[in-house]
């Protein structure tokens, strides 16, 4: 089988890289993404490492890129993603990138600055323009109402009328007016008029309709007061040319200035757009290049430098299968072919590598969520591909719901390459999308179990004719119409010949969905089904442990652990499965009054008692049961003491021939013990034997074995009961869908007129929404969770340790970079 069965072989290797070609070698390795580098300088702080200067340079370039990115975003452009991924740049190219990026950033800054200053000036001019433009109507009105204020008539007066024009924020108008009145009472006339078009406020950037004011006053002191007050209120004040001619001249002059300025501004904007275009073109490539460069230098920082041989030594975890590829990469990256890789023996536990494709990745991830497989132990994922959807389907069995789920997943699978689906940002959608194959299988199995349960949106289908004949029963018991009218419910008796004609060939008979006592039958069926399937699942789990014992050269565990475990499981719970099947086959309606209860028999078996009213299922049942219980109890001490005693004997006998644990080829930089990624439930059960002090170890081994024994034996009982959740959830699902049908959808069929047809539409809408929300989403999630729990706890604690850590290769894969 492929590497899905157990982890690939991963070895520790050392890379010897010449200083000159180290960078390109690592770049080559990063492109291929094969190795995980180990940190050989853990005690060195990041600021003291060798290549800290280069890393800093990369970070500065990234800062420049961020600035450019912000400018692009402010101008409303989005940089296109990089089409093909460029390789990490060599040193010279990196320098060029740095210079160019800084130059572009500088240009951008200057152009932006000049543009904003031009804009400010333009706005000022416009405001200035509006001030005299807006006010001409007023003086004429003024002169009509108050002829004394007409400037042209006042030359002979000793008082000279002066005018102040300006622009003020509309919210400050009333305060301004009030203050002017209080300060210069009677000596001024102020008029306010709104600007015809709104203009931008320099401080906040929003466009406001400014108010132009024109104050006519006389007296120098008043003028100063007015100017001080206007300063206070931050309004722009402009001189007001008195004569019409000078006014028009000022207006034309302002127009001209505005025109020139607009032209300049346009040119600046065009230039800015060009610069932004250039930036948008090169920025994505640069970003990726510099990211790669920084990653390479971070990896180089992890290597140790050998001064005498002028080479860098890197320690890597490498899959054995890829060693030749690594050698290839090194040859390509190095100038003179002087870099090479050498395998190094180690006692540490290597990381786990299980290669998956897009189909198996989902299933592997739900196994890894509990704990990554220890190195080279059996991986439960290939079996979970089928058992997980199957156990889900037992709890979810309904043809209609399964079909909806299947179609939804099919849509996701068929369109999985569409970028719109792949690049969704909604996390919940992404979770569903990642599990599309899982949901596909779950839906498919749900259709199958739905046919077996004979439920399609809670309705039974009679694919084959029902095996129960009502007519025969009615004729036999002479159920006339009058008799039926007085008896609201009657039971069919299978003892009468012809009423029951044989088992329904595929699934549950459709008559049960019409019966009022259908839960009696279904509960018995589903409970027994859950127990049988649970014991089969657990037995399968115990058997998977055999592969581990054989692979890790621990054959003693086959006899001392596997055998007692199987005997315990089969003698007690395998016998229960046998009783269930035996009763189904042997006992029929003829002896239904005296049919024995399996539960009572099972309890009596443990207590070594017997119940007189409970007939035996078969002759000789009591001695057989006694033998089985004794066998099961006898296997417990074997399980408890077998392996520890065996290991103790092994350690005592050949004391002189104990092998040295470490090989000579190991070098200094190797760390003592790397912290392995721990799963939630990691036991410290060592799958490789270590050579520590014997006494200390025996106590520990014995303790572990005791825990394992207790866990196993009690677990057998409690886990079997735990599988009853299969019954519980399938019952809940069936009841929910039945309630939904009878209380929602059925009401749409009550009205038989045309109006009823119209009413059916909203009723169906409600039914559909509730089906999807409650039955598909909520029940689906619930069944998913319970199936997951059954796998993680009840199945996997029979053989799985899950204390490993994943191999995380150094790779420039596109999905690690945005």
């Amino acid at each position: 089988m492929g590497s899905l069965f157990r982890s690939e072989e991963v070895c520790l290797a050392q890379l010897f890289l010449q200083s000159a070609s180290a960078y390109s070698c690592i770049s080559e390795l990063g492109e291929r993404g094969l190795l995980e580098f180990r940190d050989l300088n853990p005690k060195v702080s990041p600021f003291q490492r060798r290549f800290v200067g280069e890393v800093r340079r990369c970070e500065e370039m990234e800062k420049t890129f961020t600035f450019l990115q912000q400018e692009l975003r402010a101008a409303g452009r989005l940089p296109a993603p990089c089409p093909e991924s460029p390789r990490a740049p060599a040193a010279r190219e990196a320098l060029r990138v740095q210079e160019q990026s800084e130059q572009l950033a500088q240009e951008l800054r200057e152009v932006s600055r000049s543009r904003s200053s031009l804009r400010d000036r333009l706005r000022d001019l416009r405001q200035h323009l509006h001030a005299p433009l807006g006010s001409p109507p007023r003086p004429r009105a003024l002169s009509e109402r108050e002829p004394i204020l007409d400037p042209s008539l006042h030359h002979h007066l000793d008082r000279k009328i002066n005018f102040v024009a300006g622009v003020i924020h509309p919210w400050r108008v009333t305060a301004f007016e009030r203050l002017l009145w209080r300060a210069c009472r009677g000596y001024l006339v102020a008029s306010f008029v709104e600007m015809p078009e709104p203009m931008e406020d320099p401080a906040t950037g929003e466009s406001i309709t400014w108010v132009i004011f024109l104050i006519s006053y006389w007296g120098e002191q008043i003028g100063q007061k007015i100017r001080k007050i206007s300063n206070c209120f931050h309004c722009q004040v402009y001189g007001y040319p008195e004569s019409e001619a000078s006014r028009t001249e000022a207006i034309t002059r302002l127009h001209g200035q505005i025109q020139e300025l607009s032209v300049t501004l346009e040119e600046t904007e065009k230039y800015l757009a060009e610069v932004l275009d250039k930036v948008a073109q090169v920025l994505p490539t640069w970003r990726v290049q510099v990211q790669k460069m920084k990653a390479i230098y971070l990896v180089l920082n992890q290597c140790s430098f050998d001064v005498t041989k002028k080479c860098l030594i890197a320690e890597v975890w490498c899959p054995v299968r890829d060693l030749t590829q690594v050698q290839d990469a090194l040859r390509q990256g190095s100038v003179s072919g002087s870099c090479f890789v050498q395998r190094v023996p180690t006692t540490e536990s290597p990381p786990t590598l299980i290669r998956t494709n897009k189909f198996t990745a989902g299933f592997q991830s739900i196994v890894d969520a509990y704990g990554v497989a220890s190195y080279q132990e059996v991986n439960p994922a290939p079996y979970a591909i089928i058992t997980f959807p199957f156990i889900f389907a037992i709890m979810f069995g309904d043809v209609g719901h399964g079909l909806l789920m299947f179609l939804f997943a099919l849509w996701m699978v068929l369109y999985e390459d569409s970028p719109r689906l792949r690049q969704g940002t909604n996390e919940i959608w992404l979770t569903f999308f990642e599990g599309r194959y899982l949901i596909l299988l779950m839906g498919a199995f749900s259709i199958y179990t739905g046919f077996i349960y004979n439920e399609c949106f809670s309705k039974a289908t009679a694919i084959f004719p029902s095996a129960w004949s009502v007519a025969t029963m009615a004729n036999h018991s002479s159920w006339s119409s009058a008799y039926l009218a007085t008896h609201p419910s009657l039971t069919l008796d299978p003892n009468v010949t012809g009423v029951f004609q044989g088992p329904y060939p595929f699934g549950i008979d459709p008559i049960w969905s019409l019966a009022t006592n259908h839960l009696n039958f279904l509960n018995s069926f589903k409970m027994k089904m859950s127990v049988v399937l649970g014991i089969v699942h657990m037995g399968f789990g115990v058997m998977l442990g055999v592969f581990n014992h054989v692979h890790f050269q621990q054959r003693h565990r086959l006899v001392l652990e596997f055998l007692p475990e199987m005997i315990f499981l089969l003698a007690l719970f395998g016998y229960l499965v046998f009783l269930i099947f035996y009763k189904w086959i042997k006992f029929s309606a003829a002896d239904s009054r005296v049919a024995p209860s399996i539960l009572i028999h099972f309890i009596d078996m443990f207590l070594f008692t017997s119940n007189a009213e409970n007939l035996p299922l078969y002759p000789g049942q009591v001695p057989v049961q006694m033998v089985l219980v004794v066998l099961a109890l006898a296997s417990v001490p074997v399980l408890l003491l077998g392996t520890p005693l065996y290991q103790w004997c092994r350690q005592r006998a050949p004391r002189t021939v104990r092998p040295r644990p470490l090989a000579a080829g190991e070098q200094e930089p190797l760390l003592e013990g790397q912290e392995a990624g721990n799963s939630v439930n990691a036991t410290t059960e060592d799958v490789e034997s270590g050579g520590h002090s014997p006494d200390h170890d025996f106590a520990e081994i014995f303790m572990h074995q005791a825990i394992h024994t207790i866990e196993y034996c009690l677990g057998c009982v409690s886990n079997t009961a735990s599988y009853l959740r299969l019954w519980a959830l399938s019952l809940a699902h069936a009841q929910l869908s039945e309630v939904l049908w009878s209380m929602v959808m059925r009401n749409g069929f009550v009205g038989l007129s045309y109006v009823g047809g119209v009413v059916l539409v909203p009723v169906f809408a409600a039914f559909a929404v509730l089906t999807v929300a409650i039955l598909l989403v909520m029940e689906g999630l619930s069944a998913f969770l319970h199936a997951l729990r059954l796998h993680w706890v009840e199945f996997q604690n029979k053989f799985y340790v899950g204390a490993g850590y994943k191999l995380c290769p150094f790779a420039f894969a596109p999905d690690t970079w945005e």
């Binding site: 089988m1 492929g2 899905l4 198996t360 290939p382 079996y383 591909i385 089928i386 199957f390 199958y448 077996i452 004719p465 029902s466 095996a467 129960w468 004949s469 009502v470 007519a471 009615a474 159920w479 039926l484 609201p488 419910s489 009657l490 039971t491 069919l492 008796d493 299978p494 029951f500 004609q501 044989g502 088992p503 329904y504 060939p505 595929f506 699934g507 549950i508 008979d509 008559i511 049960w512 019409l514 019966a515 009022t516 006592n517 009696n520 039958f521 018995s524 069926f525 027994k528 089904m529 049988v532 399937l533 089969v536 099947f581 189904w584 086959i585 006992f587 309606a589 239904s592 049919a595």
Partner: protein
């Protein structure tokens, strides 16, 4: 309708899932995924067959019959054979 008893469904289903679990694995083309596909076929065959078997054996010798309302009996008496 006269039922074929237990024999016909058992033979049909056993043959069907036997083919799925025992014959198809030999026909899967060689490739990196052969092991996974074979595991899937065998596991699927075992699970589905067992599930169907439990369903039919549970109904083989019913200890009690369905209890029907009189309306159902009125209808089924003439509608179902």
């Amino acid at each position: 309708m006269a039922y074929g008893g237990l024999a016909v469904p058992i033979i049909v289903m056993s043959v069907f899932w036997g083919v799925v679990g025992g014959v198809l694995p030999w026909l899967v083309p060689k490739g990196p995924n052969r092991g996974v596909i074979n595991t899937m076929l065998v596991t699927c065959a075992v699970c589905c067959y067992l599930f169907w078997l439990i369903a039919i054996l549970a109904q083989l010798n019913p200890l009690f019959g369905p209890q029907l309302s009189n309306e159902t009996i009125w209808y089924l008496r003439y509608h179902w054979p």
